[in-house]
């Protein structure tokens, strides 16, 4: 395949991504408009006079046609301006960026924990599926799936923070301030988010590797003189990775939801806790911005998953 064909394919996917983002922004905007609640009323409280309400609405731009309100918002978002909070009267954008950083760290390390657990355990469970050790791993994974992230979090805190005192039970230190404290603070949240996802992923890895082990080309690999594990590593894992990557993309959405809860448990200033705070204070414009960022995050992940697929599977590249 030529470079220009690669670029064309890339451009097509990027165009689809952009279109999806635009559609998502319309849906989010409309949803926020139709749910009950008047931002001016929220900002001023129940005792505000009708004149003051009208003036505030005008100030927020809420008296203009929907279409121009939408274009204003989206136009601002593309230049990094998410508007000014109706509640705190402060710009939303900078806070969003700060909070996003925390959530990306959390979800990223959670994902790493999940992968570091699922790839070896799932592979082992598949290779030993006829032995007790393989069954034990599967059973353990099954058990892990039943544990919600917040429960895992509380158990971990109980053990490592309260009983043993090895790690902080919550709070956030930015990485550029104190790297050691940053890492120590991240361990328990990442574990509570990642272990449960890791258990789910272990089962997918097991199924995929098991399926690969039964493939004819693995028998060919053995007939060349490769030992069982050699054959699996050289010929199996890349092929087994494909279905797992799809699941991984889907799991990232679950991880984001899990992050909302875990941020609460560990008092982390991430996007999830910002979302909960904004909903509680009825800060609609902030909620709108946060939801858009989350949706774009999920779309971006899908975009990357698509690209990874084409890299890993030559059949999708065309000839």
């Amino acid at each position: 395949m030529t470079t220009s064909a690669v670029l064309m394919a890339l451009a097509r996917r990027a165009a689809i991504l952009l279109a999806s983002v635009l559609v998502a922004s319309v849906v989010i905007f409309l949803f926020m408009t139709v749910i009950p609640g008047d931002p001016a009323q929220v900002a001023l409280g129940v005792n505000a006079t009708p004149e003051l309400l009208a003036r505030t609405r005008h100030e927020f731009g809420l008296d203009r046609p929907l279409i121009s309100q939408y274009l204003d918002w989206v136009g601002g978002v593309f230049s990094g301006d998410f508007g000014t909070s109706y509640v705190t009267r402060e710009p939303i954008g900078p806070q969003l960026v700060d909070r996003l950083g925390v959530t990306v760290w959390l979800v990223g390390t959670g994902m790493l924990v999940a992968l570091a657990m699922a790839i070896p355990l799932g592979t082992l469970a598949a290779v030993r599926h006829r032995k007790p050790s393989g069954a034990a791993i599967s059973g353990f994974a099954q058990l892990g799936i039943a544990v919600p992230a917040f429960l895992a979090g509380m158990l971990l805190v109980q053990l490592f923070a309260v009983r043993l005192g090895w790690l902080p039970s919550g709070g956030w230190t930015p990485p550029n301030q104190d790297a050691g404290a940053f890492l120590r603070g991240l361990v328990l949240p990442a574990l509570s988010l990642g272990l449960v996802q890791g258990a789910v992923l272990t089962r997918y890895v097991r199924t995929s590797v098991l399926d690969t082990l039964g493939q004819d080309y693995l028998r060919t690999a053995r007939s060349k003189g490769l030992r069982p594990y050699q054959a699996l590593f050289r010929h199996g894992l890349r092929n087994a990775a494909l279905p797992v990557i799809t699941v991984l993309g889907l799991q990232l959405a679950t991880l984001l939801i899990g992050a909302v809860v875990v941020e609460r448990v560990f008092v982390l200033p991430g996007l999830g806790s910002m979302l909960l705070d904004s909903v509680a204070s009825r800060d609609l414009l902030a909620v709108q911005g946060i939801v858009l960022v989350l949706v774009v995050g999920v779309l971006l992940v899908n975009f990357v998953v698509d690209l990874l697929y084409t890299v890993l599977d030559p059949r999708l590249r065309g000839s």
């Binding site: 006829r130 060919t220 060349k224 490769l226 069982p228």
Partner: protein
């Protein structure tokens, strides 16, 4: 000189007996056919020789390659022999190659693994030569192709190249042409015949097609329900079968027509 000697080979799954008391020998450069209807135990017999029986199946008896006993040999011993002294071409070329690896690398792999070529470059150019010798068009370009870019016949040629890469003493072909259409079948057969003659490779050729046996093999073993029921020179067995089943196989094939 005997290359392969199989004595009273039996294969069972749990309590179920799938192959019983199979014995035969193959001399250097000799081509032996193993025929029988589907499910008669041909593939299990071949897999036992290679030590690659499916999980849960168990073989007893003796399989000797030269002086080396293979049944019960360690994985280490077996993996040194596979792809080096014994190679196998399987029935289904469409699924027997790794879909995400260039076929040139798949052919170079057994040479690098067994150290018969000093480095990657040497193995690669040997792979291209092999592609030429199995009559693949544009050997250089084919080496860079992925399996999905090749036809079934071309893939079977690649698999044959893999099997021949280290000049094995014994080549096992398990219905190598069954999945291919008729014209391609004839080409692949001619190729197997030429390659084994040229290298003086012993051949165990599995098929259910008597016409193929007649054109390739010097001797033939007839298998039914896990047992060898008749064996001998191809011409004798095919012209005057002693067993009723062989006669039936003969009647079912269009041997006269060819």
């Amino acid at each position: 000189m005997t290359v392969l000697r199989v004595d009273e080979l039996s294969v069972s799954a749990g309590g179920q007996s799938l192959v019983r008391d199979v014995s035969f020998q193959i001399g250097a450069g000799e081509r032996v056919g193993l025929i029988g209807e589907s499910g008669s135990g041909k593939t299990l017999t071949a897999s036992s020789v290679l030590g690659l029986l499916p999980d849960g199946l168990h073989a007893t008896g003796s399989v000797r390659l030269g002086e080396q006993e293979l049944l019960g040999a360690s994985e280490r011993t077996l993996s040194r022999l596979r792809g080096m002294e014994i190679s196998m071409v399987f029935q289904e070329p469409m699924t027997a190659l790794n879909p995400s690896m260039r076929v040139g690398s798949q052919v170079a792999e057994p040479m690098l693994l067994h150290g018969t070529r000093p480095d990657r470059r040497a193995a690669r150019s040997a792979a291209v030569e092999l592609f030429d010798s199995v009559r693949l068009p544009d050997p250089e370009g084919t080496a860079r192709a992925y399996p999905h870019q090749l036809s079934g016949g071309q893939r079977q040629r690649v698999l044959l190249a893999i099997a021949l890469a280290n000049d094995p003493a014994l080549l096992i072909c398990d219905e190598p042409t069954t999945a291919l259409d008729v014209t391609v079948q004839a080409q692949i057969l001619a190729l197997i015949l030429a390659a084994t003659r040229e290298r003086d490779t012993a051949l165990l050729f599995i098929t259910h097609d008597l016409a193929v046996v007649a054109s390739v093999c010097e001797r033939v073993l007839v298998m039914l329900d896990g047992e060898i029921i008749e064996s001998g020179g191809t011409r004798e067995v095919l012209s005057s079968p002693r067993h009723e089943y062989t006669g039936k196989l003969l009647a079912a094939s269009d041997l006269e027509a060819r």
